[in-house]
Symmetry: C2
Subunit: 82 residues, 2 copies
Amino acid sequence: MSQFMDVHHGMKGITADQLREAHRADLALEKEEGVHFEKAWADPRSGTVYCLSEAPSAEAVQRVHERAGHRADEIHPVPFTV
Amino acid sequence: MSQFMDVHHGMKGITADQLREAHRADLALEKEEGVHFEKAWADPRSGTVYCLSEAPSAEAVQRVHERAGHRADEIHPVPFTV
């Protein structure tokens, strides 16, 4: 299992409720792919959302996001953390 | 105080030690600007570093990073978190 930071662009105007709802959709599917979405942060002004996950691969992260209806634009493995 | 996610590009090949050292440099300066750097994640392959902070403004975040010698390329306020 590795940690990943994925990024969604084009989410201008996203609300707290929409972020919560998107995260809930990920959580409902994540087990089937062996992924766990730990946290997400949204900047509604620039339309950027960051999701931190623990997953077997970037592909597994993307599969959950795709099935939940919000494909990620970037997925970065982040092996180093402080 | 608000939460910010800032992004550094061009950090290809960054090591765990370098990330730790950069974070330590931020922590040594942050109080003077009323900032607290909570966490950072690095992807050495794409050369991307994400820093999560609590700060009075994006400018204060940048001042700490600049004084520590590593200006951020993007600074996003992230008012929504799950």
